[in-house]
Amino acid sequence: MAGSGTEALGHGGANAAGHAEAEGASKRDFLKILTIASGAVAAGAIAWPFIDALNPTREAEATARPIINIGGIAENTAMRVEWLGQPIYIRKLTAKQIADNQFVVPASLPDPADFSDRVKPGYDSFVVVVGLNTGIACELEGNSPSDPRGPFDGWLCPCDGSVYDPLGRLRSGPAPKNLVIPRFTFLNDTQIQLG
């Protein structure tokens, strides 16, 4: 017969027993639920590459963690590199500087720190610090032997006169703390990776 729209919405065929219809209904529901759930899984799997593509690329991660060659640094000089906007000083200490500073009692310093806190094990002669005064923010002098270095042969702040030793520990001056040591690792004897 010519069905109207609502009649044609179809409530399952004119089947025999209600029992069979109920069983058919639950089978259909399981299938539908399984299909929709699998479809959702597929949609999520397809969406993931789009989302992950916006995460930092390998290039960005490399720029965030640069590798620096330190093999060419002469003794008693420091190399300056810029990292994330800040100057990083990498200094090679002389044997005399190590000897003078190795056994200073930490408690006698304005900001107590031991020699082993300032250098990495096995690499005694390298000091890596952020080259900014911890008091009035100002870039330090002392990377080259001809710079004014202050009485401890380390670094000197030209802005407020704070004095640091070759390990970057504060010795005197308005500044409150030792120079910040950034996160870094030694890849081998001639390369460090910041970050």
């Binding site: 065929g13 259909r28 479809g39 590798i67 060659n69 060419g72 890849l187």
Partner: protein, 240 residues
């Protein structure tokens, strides 16, 4: 319906437990990365990289690769740092974040050195040729004496695989030009096979991930297709 699911499940188990052939072979030349289920033979890639660094890198650039990408070959950070620091860039020793060294400061210098026949960048050479892996291998071992009816252009060599048969590159590979750490005999053919594998990786570093994800995605979609068609039929059977 149930039988279709069982067959699919059996097929899935068979495909998932399929073992790719264990390594690249020479006779006949076959690379583990070939085929729908292939993956890279990392040992061959490392050998190929050694050949590349020793022989090819002096004239060819591979500017899309960085030294840090070599971790995909199985090298660890220290080994990569060592490999990079052995490379002399104009600004000092290279680091892992540098691109592979370009032997020439600019294309004009390269053209001047080789009379216009600039050695191409090898980053995508395998993708850019049909059957690229086999092409590179055939080219490297395809040098032969020119037959009688062929007059060679000056500074050119006869090569059976190169289009036109006359190539400006002198035969680059000889037996035992490198010594492999894993003890494989470094015949010219072996070196050619390994460097072809390495250059295949250079062109397509994502091959392993692509085929692995592809297998899972295809099986899942076959499963989902069967479900979707079954659901559609079930729903339509409800209507008069």
């Amino acid at each position: 319906m149930r039988r279709t699911l069982l067959v699919t499940a059996a097929l899935a188990v068979a495909l998932l437990t399929h073992q790719a052939r264990a390594e690249d072979t020479l006779n006949p030349p076959h690379w583990q990365s070939e085929g729908s289920f292939g993956s890279y033979d990392k040992a061959a890639l490392q050998r190929g990289f050694l050949v590349y660094q020793t022989v090819c890198a002096s004239c060819h650039a591979a500017g899309e690769l960085h030294y840090r990408d070599l971790d995909a070959l199985g090298f660890d950070t220290a080994q990569i740092a060592a490999i990079a620091s052995n490379v002399k860039l104009p600004t000092g020793p290279a680091t892992a974040d540098d691109r592979f060294k370009n032997p020439y400061p600019d294309p004009a210098a390269a053209a001047a050195l080789f009379g216009g026949a600039i050695p191409p960048d090898l980053s995508t050479i395998v993708s850019a040729r049909p059957n690229g892996t086999r092409y590179v291998y055939d080219l490297l071992i395809g040098y032969a004496p020119a037959p009688g009816d062929v007059t060679l252009l000056p500074s050119h060599y006869y090569n059976t695989a190169y289009p036109g048969q006359q190539i400006a590159m002198p035969p680059p590979l000889k037996d035992n030009q490198v010594s492999y750490a894993d003890g494989t005999a470094a015949t010219a053919a072996q070196e050619a096979s390994d460097v072809a594998a390495f250059l295949t990786w250079a062109s397509d570093p994502n091959l392993d991930a692509r085929k692995e994800i592809g297998l899972r995605a295809t099986l899942f979609l076959i499963f989902l297709a069967i479900l979707a068609i079954a659901t559609k039929r079930k729903i339509w059977r409800e209507s008069v």
